[in-house]
C-alpha cells in the first residue's frame, strides 16, 4: 500500500489544542466562540483534505518522535481512522452551535473552561483516530479521559463529584490496570505495537495468553462500555447536555469502540482471531451487553439516562459486528460508528432542548410535549428511527450490514440478538414519541402553543436530523471508507 508522509494529521490534532490560549484570553464570549468555530472549521478542512488520498487507497503517516525502541509517537491516517475523524470533526461544529444555545440559555458558569476542555477533548479524539500504534492511541485515550473530567464535573456539586469519581475509577482505572500491562506484555512479546492488518503476533503464543491479553485490552478500553465496565456512562449524564451529546454519544464512547476495533483488527488481526476462535468470546460479551443495556433502558425514566443505556447497547453493536469476523460484519460495525453518531447526537440535542425550554428531564413529564416543541420531537422521531435501524435513516444501513454479517459468519444466535435488540430499541423509543404527540387534552402536560428552545439549540438538531436522513440516501462515503478499511 502506498504511503505519503505529511504533517497534516498532526495539524488536525493540534489545531484545537492550539486554540485554547485564544479561548482563555478572549474577554468577549462572542470572540471566544468565534475562535472555537475557526478551530472547528480548520480541523474539518484538514481532515477533509485528506479524504481523496485515502479514498485512492493511500495512507498518510507522520512520526513525531521515536520514544521507545521500535515504538514512536506516530500518526497514520487510514480509511477507518478517517471515517471516525470525519464524523467527530463534523459533529463538533454542530455541537459548538448547540453549546452556545444551551450554555447561554441556562446561564451556565465557567463557559470558558467548558469550551477549552471541549477543544482539548476533540484534539484527543482526532489523535485516537489517527494513531498508528497502540502507544499513541493510549496517549490520546488518556488525554481524552482527563480532558473530559472537568466537563463531566462541570456543575461542581456533590452529584458531579461522585459521578466524576465513578468516571475516573472506571475509565482511568481500567486503562491503567488493564490496558497498560497488556500493552507492555504485547510489547515484550513482539517488540512492536504498530497496527497492521496481520496483527503483531506471530501466532506462536499460547491460546491462554492471547485470550487474557484480548480480554484485558477489550475490557480495559472501558469507554466502549462493554459490561461490566459500563456504569460510568449513565453517571456521566450529570454533565451539561452538549457534553453528553458529543462526548458521550460520539467522541468519548466511540473512542472506546474505535480502540477496541483497532485492537481486534490491528493488534490481533482478523485472521488470528478467526484461527484461535477468539471472536466468539467477544461476540458473546457484546451480545450480553446489547440485550441487557436495552432491557435496562426500558426501565429508565430520566431521558438522558435512557439514552445513555441505549448508547451502551449500540456501542456493543459496533464491537459485535467486528467480532463476527465476517467482511460484512466488519463493515457494519465500522459504519455503525458514523450512523449511530448522527442518530444519537440528535436524540441528545433534543433532550437538551427540552431541558432548556421546559426544565424537564424525565420521560413521564413529557406527555404532550410534541405540541409545544414539534420540530424538536420530529427530530427526536428521526433520531430514534436511526437508532432502531429503520429506513429512511442512515442507521438502516449499518444494521443491514450487521445482520448480513451474522449470516455470513453463520452466527444465528447473534442474528437473534440483533433483531430482538431492535425490537427493544423500538420499545423504549416509540412510547416517548407517541406520548409526545398523541394524548388526550387532559393528559397533556403542556399548553397547546408552540414554544421551541432558543434557535441556537434548534438549528443543530435539525441539521443532525437532516444528516441522519441524508445518510440513508448518500451513505456511500462511509461505506466506501469502511470497505477500504477491510
Amino acid at each position: 500500500m502506498e504511503t505519503i508522509t505529511s504533517i497534516k494529521p498532526l495539524l488536525a490534532v493540534l489545531v484545537s489544542l492550539l486554540v485554547t490560549p485564544m479561548l482563555v484570553s478572549s474577554r468577549n464570549p462572542n470572540v471566544r466562540e468565534g475562535w472555537t468555530f475557526v478551530a472547528a472549521f480548520i480541523k474539518l478542512a484538514i481532515v477533509a483534505s485528506m479524504v481523496p488520498a485515502i479514498l485512492q487507497g493511500t495512507e498518510i503517516v507522520y512520526t513525531v518522535a521515536e520514544v521507545l525502541p521500535g515504538v514512536a509517537i506516530k500518526f497514520k491516517v487510514d480509511a477507518f481512522g478517517m471515517l471516525f475523524a470525519l464524523v467527530s470533526s463534523t459533529l463538533w461544529i454542530v455541537t459548538t452551535i448547540y453549546s452556545i444555545g444551551y450554555m447561554r440559555g441556562l446561564h451556565e458558569h465557567s463557559q470558558t473552561r467548558y469550551f477549552c476542555f471541549f477543544a482539548i477533548a476533540l484534539s484527543a479524539t482526532i489523535g485516537v483516530a489517527f494513531s498508528a500504534n497502540l502507544l499513541t492511541l493510549y496517549l490520546f485515550y488518556e488525554m481524552l479521559s482527563f480532558a473530559t473530567y472537568p466537563l463531566v464535573a462541570h456543575h461542581q456539586d456533590q452529584e458531579a463529584r461522585s459521578s466524576g469519581r465513578k468516571y475516573l475509577l472506571y475509565i482511568v482505572g481500567a486503562s491503567i490496570a488493564l490496558v497498560l500491562p497488556a500493552m507492555l506484555i504485547c510489547y515484550n512479546l513482539t517488540g512492536t505495537l504498530e497496527f497492521s492488518k496481520q496483527g503483531i503476533f506471530t501466532g506462536t503464543e499460547s491460546h491462554a495468553t492471547m485470550l487474557v491479553l484480548l480480554l484485558m485490552l477489550v475490557l480495559g478500553f472501558a469507554k466502549a462500555g462493554i459490561m461490566p465496565f459500563h456504569s460510568w456512562l449513565p453517571a456521566a449524564m450529570v454533565a451539561p447536555t452538549p457534553v453528553s451529546a458529543l462526548l458521550h454519544a460520539v467522541a468519548v464512547v466511540k473512542v472506546g469502540a474505535f480502540s477496541v476495533l483497532r485492537v481486534l483488527t490491528g493488534v490481533f488481526g482478523i485472521d488470528l482471531l478467526a484461527r484461535l476462535n477468539l471472536g466468539t468470546v467477544i461476540c458473546y460479551l457484546a451480545a450480553f451487553t446489547v440485550i441487557t443495556a436495552s432491557l435496562i433502558a426500558l426501565s429508565q425514566d430520566g431521558l438522558k439516562r435512557r439514552l445513555a443505556f441505549s448508547t451502551i447497547g449500540q456501542l456493543s453493536y459496533i464491537v459485535l459486528g467486528v467480532a463476527l469476523l465476517s467482511p460484512k460484519g466488519v463493515i457494519g460495525g465500522m459504519t455503525h460508528i458514523a450512523m449511530h453518531a448522527f442518530g444519537k447526537i440528535t436524540l441528545f440535542f433534543c433532550a437538551g432542548a427540552i431541558f432548556v425550554a421546559t426544565g424537564k428531564k424525565n420521560i413521564s413529564e413529557m406527555v404532550g410535549i410534541g405540541r409545544r416543541m414539534p420540530v424538536t420531537m420530529v427530530a427526536f422521531f428521526i433520531g430514534s428511527l436511526s437508532v432502531i435501524g429503520l429506513p429512511p435513516t442512515g442507521g438502516f444501513f449499518s444494521k443491514w450490514y450487521l445482520v448480513q454479517g451474522t449470516l455470513q459468519a453463520d452466527q444465528w444466535p447473534m442474528l437473534v440478538v440483533l433483531l430482538s435488540s431492535s425490537l427493544l430499541n423500538a420499545a423504549y423509543f416509540f412510547p416517548i414519541v407517541y406520548k409526545a404527540f398523541f394524548c388526550t387534552p387532559e393528559e397533556a402536560m403542556f399548553e397547546n402553543r408552540v414554544e421551541e428552545a432558543p434557535i441556537w439549540c434548534v438549528v443543530p438538531l435539525v441539521i443532525t436530523a437532516a444528516g441522519t436522513i441524508a445518510l440513508f440516501f448518500y451513505p456511500s462515503l462511509f461505506l466506501k471508507l469502511a470497505e477500504l478499511a477491510m
Binding site: H109, S110, L135, F146, Q156, D157, R165, I176, N188
Partner: protein, 496 residues
C-alpha cells in the same frame, strides 16, 4: 576553558558561597544575583561537560594536577554527565522560584540561607562528579550538613525533624565510610576505576562482600529506602518551601546515583548481580517500598507530607529498577533519576506557591485553588500526570522501561507494584484536585455566581514552575534521544 568544566562545577559554587555570605552582611540584595550567576555558570558548565562526553567519551580531570591513585580524579561519563545537568538545572530553577518565598519567610536570614543553599549544591555536584570513593564521602557530608541546616530553618518542629535526619544521615554516611574503608584495606586504592580494576580477583573475599553490603545499607539510609525512610517525611514537610523544593528532588536522587555508581562502576554488575544473587530480595524490598509509600501517602491529609511519601515510593521504583539486573530495568532507573527529580521539583514548587499565597498546605487550605491559582494548578496537573505515569509526560516512559525490565526479569511482583502505585497516585492526586475544584460547594449548579478573583503567585514563582512543567513533557517526548544517546552508554555492555 572547556577542559576545566569539571573543576568549575565545584569551585564556582564553593567560592561564591563565600561571596554570598559576605554579601549577606554588606547588602542583602546582592546575594540573589550572585547565586543566580553562579548557578547559571554551573548549568552552562554541566551542559558543556555533557556535550563533551557525548562527543569525545569519558572526561577525566585530575584535581590540582595530581594523578590518581594519589590525587583526586573527577570522572565524568554519560551517567553522571546526565545527572550533573539535572542537579544544576534543578538548583537554578528552584532558587529563582524560591526568591519570593525566602523574602517572605525569613527576610533577615536570606544571606545565610543562600550560602547554605549553594554549599549544598556544591556538595551534591561534587558527589556526582567525583571519581574518588573517599572524596565522595567528604562531599556527602558537605551536602548533608548544609542540608540539616537548611531543613532546620523551617517551622517550629523543623529543628527536631532535622535532628532526627541528622542522626540517621550520619549513621548512613558512616556506613558508607566503613564500606569504603574495607575496600581500601583490600585494594589499597580509593579511586573508583582503580578499585574496579583491582576487585575482580577478590570477588570471593568476605571483606569485599561486607564492603558492598555496608555501603549499600548506608546509601539506602541516605536515600530513605523503605524501611529506612522514617527520617524523610517529617524533615521535608516541616522545612521551608525553598529548602524542601531543593532537597526533595535532589538528595534522594543523587543517592540513587551513588548506588548505581557503586553497582555499575565500583563493583561491576557481574559482582552485584551474578556473584551475590541478592537481586530478588532487593527487588522485593523495593516492591514493599512502593506499596508502603503509596499506602502511607493515602493516609495523609496534608499535601506536602503526602508528597514526601510519594518520594519514598519513587525511591522504590529506582532501587527496584536498578536491581532487576537487566538493561531495561537499569535504563528505567537512570531515566527515573532525571524524571523524578523534575517531577518532584514541579510538585514541590507548586507547594511553595500555595504556601506563599494560602499560608498552609493541609487539604482544607486547598479549596477553590483552580480558580485562585490556575497556572500553578495547571503545572500541578502536569506534575501529577507525570507521577501517575500518563504519556507524554516523562514519568510514563521511565515507568515503561521499569515494567519492561520487570517483565524481562520475570519479576511480576515489581510490575504489579508499579501498576498499583499508578492507580494509587490517581486517587491521591484526584482527591486533591477534587478539593481544589469542587470546594467550597456552590448551590444551584453554580449558575450566575460571580467567579472568585484570581490570586496567582508572583511571576518569578510561576514562570520557573511553568518551565518545569513544559520540561516534563519535552523530556517525555525526547525520551528516545535521551536513552539512545546518553543512557545507553552509561550502562556497561555486559548488562543485557
Amino acid at each position: 576553558m572547556s577542559q576545566q568544566y569539571p573543576a568549575l562545577l565545584v569551585i564556582v559554587p564553593l567560592l561564591s558561597a563565600f561571596a554570598i555570605s559576605i554579601a549577606g552582611w554588606v547588602n542583602k540584595r546582592l546575594c540573589f544575583p550572585i547565586i543566580v550567576t553562579a548557578l547559571s555558570v554551573v548549568v552552562y558548565a554541566s551542559i558543556g561537560l555533557l556535550l563533551t562526553v557525548l562527543e569525545k567519551g569519558v572526561v577525566i580531570y585530575h584535581l590540582g594536577g595530581w594523578p590518581p591513585p594519589v590525587g583526586i580524579a573527577y570522572y565524568v561519563d554519560h551517567l553522571n554527565g546526565l545527572v550533573l545537568v539535572v542537579v544544576a538545572s534543578v538548583a537554578l530553577l528552584n532558587v529563582i522560584a524560591a526568591k519570593k518565598s525566602i523574602e517572605q519567610e525569613f527576610p533577615d536570614k536570606a544571606g545565610p540561607f543562600y550560602t547554605l543553599y549553594i554549599l549544598m549544591v556544591t556538595g551534591l555536584l561534587g558527589i556526582v562528579v567525583t571519581g574518588d570513593a573517599f572524596n565522595l564521602y567528604v562531599l556527602l557530608e558537605i551536602a548533608a550538613l548544609t542540608g540539616y541546616g537548611l531543613l532546620a530553618m523551617g517551622e517550629e518542629r523543623a529543628p527536631l525533624s532535622s535532628l532526627n535526619y541528622l542522626y540517621m544521615g550520619t549513621i548512613g554516611a558512616c556506613f558508607y565510610l566503613l564500606g569504603v574503608g574495607y575496600l581500601y584495606i583490600v585494594t589499597g586504592s580509593l579511586n573508583m576505576v582503580d578499585i574496579a580494576r583491582l576487585l575482580p580477583p577478590l570477588y570471593q573475599s568476605r571483606a569485599v562482600l561486607a564492603a558492598f553490603i555496608i555501603c549499600m545499607v548506608g546509601v539506602w539510609l541516605k536515600m530513605a529506602f523503605f524501611p529506612l525512610h522514617s527520617w524523610l517525611p517529617n524533615a521535608y514537610t516541616h522545612a521551608t518551601s525553598a529548602a524542601s523544593s531543593l532537597i526533595a528532588p535532589l538528595v534522594t536522587k543523587v543517592m540513587v546515583y551513588v548506588m548505581i555508581r557503586l553497582i555499575l562502576t565500583i563493583f561491576t554488575p557481574e559482582f552485584a548481580f551474578a556473584t551475590l544473587a541478592l537481586n530478588n530480595i532487593v527487588v522485593w524490598l523495593a516492591v514493599i517500598a512502593i506499596v508502603m509509600g503509596a499506602i502511607l501517602a493515602l493516609a495523609e491529609r496534608n499535601l506536602k507530607k503526602m508528597l514526601t511519601f510519594i518520594v519514598v515510593a519513587e525511591i522504590g521504583y529506582m532501587v527496584g529498577g536498578a536491581w532487576l539486573g537487566n538493561r531495561a530495568g537499569m535504563t528505567g532507573a537512570i531515566l527515573h533519576i532525571v524524571n523524578d527529580a523534575l517531577m518532584t521539583l514541579c510538585v514541590f514548587l507548586v507547594v511553595g506557591n500555595i504556601v506563599y499565597k494560602v499560608k498552609g498546605y493541609a487539604f482544607e487550605n486547598l479549596q477553590g485553588l483552580f480558580r485562585k491559582m490556575p497556572f500553578t494548578m495547571g503545572a500541578f496537573v502536569v506534575g501529577a500526570m507525570s507521577i501517575i505515569g500518563v504519556p507524554p509526560t516523562c514519568g510514563f516512559f521511565s515507568k515503561w522501561y521499569l515494567i519492561v525490565g520487570a517483565l524481562q526479569a520475570g519479576h511480576y511482583g515489581f510490575m504489579a507494584a508499579l501498576i498499583f502505585s499508578s492507580l494509587v497516585s490517581v486517587v491521591l492526586f484526584f482527591r486533591i484536585f477534587e478539593i481544589c475544584y469542587y470546594e467550597p460547594f456552590s448551590d444551584h449548579h453554580g449558575h450566575d455566581q460571580p467567579p472568585e478573583p484570581m490570586d496567582e503567585a508572583p511571576l518569578t514563582m510561576v514562570v520557573p514552575l511553568l518551565i518545569v512543567a513544559v520540561i516534563l513533557i519535552l523530556v517525555g517526548l525526547y525520551t528516545g534521544d535521551i536513552v539512545n544517546h546518553i543512557i545507553k552508554f552509561a550502562i556497561p555492555e555486559g548488562l543485557v
